[in-house]
Symmetry: C2
DNA sequence: AAATGATTTAACCGAATGGTCAAAATTAAA
DNA sequence: TTTAATTTTGACCATTCGGTTAAATCATTT
């Protein structure tokens, strides 16, 4: 199947995805999307009535894709520790292939927070917690992860994986100055992050044990 | 000094800051900024020639402000552990007062990565590292922070503090569903984050010590 | 108070933008 | 092969946007 065989609607959607992710809703131009898809501007409005419609289609698809990447963690039949390792390896690899996705999603959400509702309306947090608790009761106790501090824990995990992509220009800008390489940094992070997290939540009394 | 006494240039700059942070470069309208400042649109161009000039002024000021907040850590005469605690308390408090700043800065940087150069041109990373090494030689050894893994460490610290603000709509959206409060979450984080970090970098062998 | 320079405004401009529409081209149905 | 339906296009439209200009207002100096 060549580029020409693709259905027009697909071509439009893919072009829109690329342009929107690169320039954002406000920076994207319908003309650019049409040109990128190699079609007439009016065709965009034939398939997707307005810029808003087209944007929403792209945004919901991409946001769904990104959040779905968190899900397998709950399904995989792995030990708690391996799930953490599995998550960082898979998630960072996914983001390496879509490095601008997090900035796009989070920025558009911060501009229009209402959008979050549709994305999480089918998410039953209580149920998810119960499942996790059944599956890893011992680990949760071992690591002292309670219902009360799970938001702290979850956001720390997400932060460790997503932040490098959100701050990529800064990080690679600074690293360039000292001859480091951003891609190597990302590869390292796939193992650094899970070790970091697991150590951070271990019950070990830090003060007693760090006298070298 | 009332609102009317403020110099026009100040009023413009402050209004521009607010509008740009809220809507971004592409979403902001010169008309909105003028209205917000209570002046004629042409005055914007009288003081700042173009939208780009105005934006750059705002962006550089705000980016500088945000990055400066990382600096005191190096100066304060505190133990290594207290510096970490100090940092999170101060930085999160600062971001609580400017919650949209990180998304603004990081998004505009990801759209125009060239901008980073001007921001870090005067930053001597090598020197900074040497200073840190002299000041905390023992701690760096104790926590196994080397020149090689310092990017991993630094980005992890930054991530723990900044990410909650970048992902605020998601976090507070999810937390709302289970009756949690985002502001409480942030207060907690001021102490959760430094403990998390310090435990994560301690040399303790995790496997030996987590049998409860 | 006249003159000078700085500040502010209303009116205007050209380019770009999202969107429409009727006609043309293509495809599917009869 | 005709007819009907669908897809694609070029030309067009109203509005918005960043920016300009000349005149008006205000403050300062002489």
């Amino acid at each position: 199947m060549t580029e020409n065989d693709k259905l027009t609607e697909e071509k439009i959607f893919e072009s829109a995805t690329e342009i929107f992710i690169e320039k954002g809703m406000d920076g994207a131009r319908m003309k650019d999307i049409a040109d990128h898809a190699g079609i007439n501007k009016a065709l965009l409005h034939y398939y997707y009535r307005t810029k808003d419609h087209l944007f929403n289609a792209v945004f919901e698809k991409m946001a769904g894709l990104m959040f779905k990447k968190f899900a397998p963690v709950f399904d995989e039949r792995l030990s708690f520790e391996d799930k953490i390792k599995f998550f960082f390896r898979e998630h960072i690899t996914f983001l390496q292939q879509n490095p601008r996705l997090p900035a796009f999603i989070l920025y558009e959400l911060s501009r229009h927070p209402e959008r979050i509702k549709k994305l999480i309306q089918n998410l039953d947090v209580e149920k998810l917690w119960e499942t996790l608790e059944k599956q890893h009761e011992k680990d949760l106790k071992k690591y002292n992860i309670t219902k009360e501090n799970i938001p702290q824990f979850m956001t720390s995990v997400a932060a460790m994986s997503v932040f490098p992509f959100l701050a990529k220009p800064i990080i690679s800008g600074v690293m360039e100055k000292i001859g480091y390489n951003f891609d190597e940094y990302l590869e390292q992070r796939k193992s650094y992050a899970p070790e970091f997290i697991l150590k951070a939540i271990s019950k070990t009394n830090r003060d007693e044990l760090t006298l070298t």
